[in-house]
Amino acid sequence: METAKKRGALKKLVILILAELLLVAAVVWAFDPFYQYHAPFGRLPAVLTDRDNQVVGTIRNFCYDSVLLGSSVAENFDSDYLDMAYDCSTLKVIRASGSVADLLYYLEMAQEERGVELKNIFWCLDSFAMSASAEVTLYGRDTPRYLHTGSVLDDIPYLFNREVLLERIPYMLACGYQGRNTGGRAYDWSRDKEFSAAKAMQAYDRSGINVVSNVEQRPVGEKAELIEENISLLTRQIAAHPETQYYFILPPYSMLWWDCAYVNGEQEERFYILEQTLPELLAFENVEVYFFQSEEEIVCNLDNYMDMIHYTPQVNQLMLERMVSGENRVTSENLETVLAALRDMAHRITQEEIYRYYPEQQ
């Protein structure tokens, strides 16, 4: 009798432990803040705030026919506007570094998941990404395995995770309730950020740099190989998907970015990237390129920025509107003129414009 009672108690304890663990897993599965298993149920909006953890899940489980690729400078694009303008359903796919190889890893995953050709690919192409590593860097030590494998066993750290349960799910619900980071505003980080010349200059303290009037600009050197590899990655992707329309957007970095390049002798490398990449892209019929790097009114007004490269959502919107109306488009015909104008602008920045903010050094 006593033994039966004890056995019953032990059984109950084990069942309760298992039940509680299962309950936790069920809650995480149902709300699924990383969208590992499904898109949001019912009327719950998709809340996208955490690119590194959510991008893979959205690629696998969301409904879309187009993607918007890019780094943090692409996060504030309103993808709903693209949907309206191009009659499509766009998924934002973001990688902080803007690495071509990483974004292609995501893109190929999306192409495989959809099974049919994607309609449009809007790629906010960062110049700095073109000279970065051409290897995929998504499998680092700190990247959870469950994001990249289909195995449920790998999902255990996700299903049984107090951060997911106590932080991510409540935050997701709160954002959903307030309508933040939903729809076209996925991953938008502009809320509560200060965009001003003072803020931008905090991120670039030129006063400590001893600059002479003519800094020697280094030749491209070893980076040329990396640039070539990245171009090759892009062209292979485009060539393999002739039915997909590619829109490359080259965003406007602030004049601080150009001045920084000049001070470090890297300006030629930045021109070289464009001179090598753009003709290769323009050689494809299914590619359109929109160029904003030489938009002097944006670039030279530091009130548009919070640091050297991150601009206001209004700049994002302006780019989309110009793209839709066909402005700022680069073609094989006007490429030379566009790049020449860029060189002129960079020269003016480093020799004149920057001194509106920093005293000239002898």
Binding site: T3, K6, L10, L13, I17, I156, F160, N161, L165
Partner: protein
């Protein structure tokens, strides 16, 4: 494989239990032991597959020596030769993996030479299974062991709950249990007790030790920027981290063994309640103290060769203890200081024992706390810097970096949802640190050793188990390692 990992808790442990009891239930007792050995090898190989070769070689070599002594039991000279050879080989293995680089580094520094360091990967727990086998060799030489078969011997060494961080068990504790038919049967009480101990241990490790450890890691990483207050807090954080880490491990090890209806010896008995350094070492890592007493102190002559020699023997034991914990001068100095304290206690024991208990406790705890600084510091210079911070009264309050280590998600969640808690934190930003320290003090001073307490299954304990286990499992993500694995 770590006890505090998803794979261990959700897969390895249940599978091993089912396999072990299933085979025993079907009458395949030998097969059950073999299954337990193989699962233990998997547990060990999960850290790094190459460790298995070292473990296997160590077990095979030692078993060969033991069998050699058993076969030549009528020839004391042969047995003595085998014993010396066995101890030399064991110490050679541990020296190669743990101390050779330390020696070469010191030679290079001292004599300006440039011997290349080997940078070999030290198998986890090598100090534990090597010492355990040395004890077995010595006991075999003394004729205290029976002729156990290889399966029992291999299980004695590899049994996974004690393989990588002890306790250092002896043959008379484990071997009779392996052959006891009653122990092969599933026990309700032992299973319930095992789950309870495991839950308590996991909670201590994951919730307490790892959180305290974040603050300690931060502080020991930037000793030059710490104020006096910072340094005292950081030292206490480490003092409690190592306590809950090791205590948690011991609870989990004993709990897992209990699930297999086996009993491991007590290894940890509320050491911060100690009122003298001798008392501390009777409570902290008890199986190591027992090993060093039985196999080092007593063979050196113990207290049988006069007072002077006794003190020398005590000092040697603590020097070895320091070195056992790690190949670094910080560990050596830590061992030396504990040796000196033990010698002083031995000389002034009569006076010390008349000191009020609260004062004796405070001095003992402070000494242990300060010596943990030397033990944990990245270098001797860092430890000197931290001691200077404390005794030089370096100005400054509690650093933001330290406070951030305690912004754990549970606090954030509660403070966001319960308004007045947020207000309190706004007024007293250091409150999280004080809470952790207060809880830690409370547990180590007021709590009773759950291994010694008679286990009575109650609904409160059952719910305690459920809450602690779930909370700890949910907190497992992130990497953490047991401090005692490195020793």
């Amino acid at each position: 494989m770590l006890f505090n990992s998803y794979i261990f808790i959700l897969f390895f442990l249940p599978l091993t239990l089912i396999l072990y009891y299933g085979l025993n239930y079907k009458g395949h007792t030998k097969l059950a032991k073999i299954a337990l050995i193989l699962m233990s090898v998997w547990f060990y190989a999960y850290f790094h597959w190459s460790y298995v070769f070292v473990l296997a070689a160590s077990v095979l070599i030692n078993y060969t020596f033991v069998r050699g002594m058993e076969k030549r039991h009528d020839s004391p000279a042969s047995c003595r030769f085998i014993l010396i050879l066995g101890i030399t080989v064991n110490l050679g293995i541990i020296f190669y993996y743990k101390y050779l680089d330390f020696l070469l580094g010191n030679i290079n520094r001292g004599f300006g030479t440039s011997f290349p360091l080997l940078n070999v990967l030290m198998p986890l727990g090598i100090s534990f299974f090597t010492f355990q086998q040395i004890s077995y060799l010595v006991d075999s030489y003394r004729g205290e062991t029976r002729e156990y078969d290889f399966t029992d011997y291999a299980l004695f060494v590899t049994f996974f709950p004690q393989l990588v961080a002890g306790p250092i068990v002896t043959h008379e504790e484990m071997m009779p249990q392996f052959s006891n038919p009653e122990r092969k049967k599933f026990s309700q009480e032992e299973m319930a007790r095992g789950i309870w101990l495991f839950s308590v241990g996991l909670f201590k490790k994951v919730i307490l030790a790892d959180t305290l450890g974040a603050g300690a890691d931060w502080g020991f990483g930037v000793p030059e920027s710490l104020s006096c207050t910072d340094t005292i807090i950081v030292s206490l954080l480490y003092t409690f981290q190592i306590y809950f880490d090791f205590s948690g491990y011991c609870d989990m090890a004993c709990g897992i063994a209990a699930m297999f209806h086996l009993k491991l010896p007590i290894n940890f008995n509320s050491p911060y309640k100690a009122v003298s350094i001798a008392d501390f070492w009777k409570r902290w890592h008890m199986s190591l103290t027992r090993f060093l007493t039985k196999y080092v102190y007593i063979p050196l002559g113990g207290n049988r060769r006069g007072k002077g020699r006794t003190l020398v023997n005590i000092f040697l034991v603590f020097l070895i203890s320091g070195l056992w914990h790690g190949a670094d001068w910080t560990f050596v100095l830590w061992g030396v200081l504990h040796g000196i304290a033990q010698i002083l206690y031995r000389i002034f024991a009569k006076i010390w024992d008349r000191v009020p208990r609260i004062l004796a406790w405070a001095v003992t705890f402070s000494f242990v706390n300060l010596t943990w600084i030397i033990f944990r510091a990245g270098s001797l210079e860092d430890s000197v810097l931290m001691l200077q911070n404390i005794f030089g009264g370096k100005p400054g309050g509690v650093s933001d970096g330290l406070l951030q280590c305690f912004n754990i998600i549970e606090f954030t969640y509660l403070e966001e949802h319960i308004g007045f808690l947020g207000e309190i934190v706004g007024k007293i930003p250091t409150i999280h640190v004080w809470m952790f320290l207060a809880v830690s003090f409370g547990v180590v001073l007021l709590g009773r050793n759950c291994y010694e307490k008679k286990f009575l299954p109650t609904p409160v304990k059952a719910w305690g188990c459920i809450v602690m286990l779930t909370w700890a499992v949910l907190s497992l993500s992130g990497l953490s390692r047991f401090l005692y694995f490195n020793f």
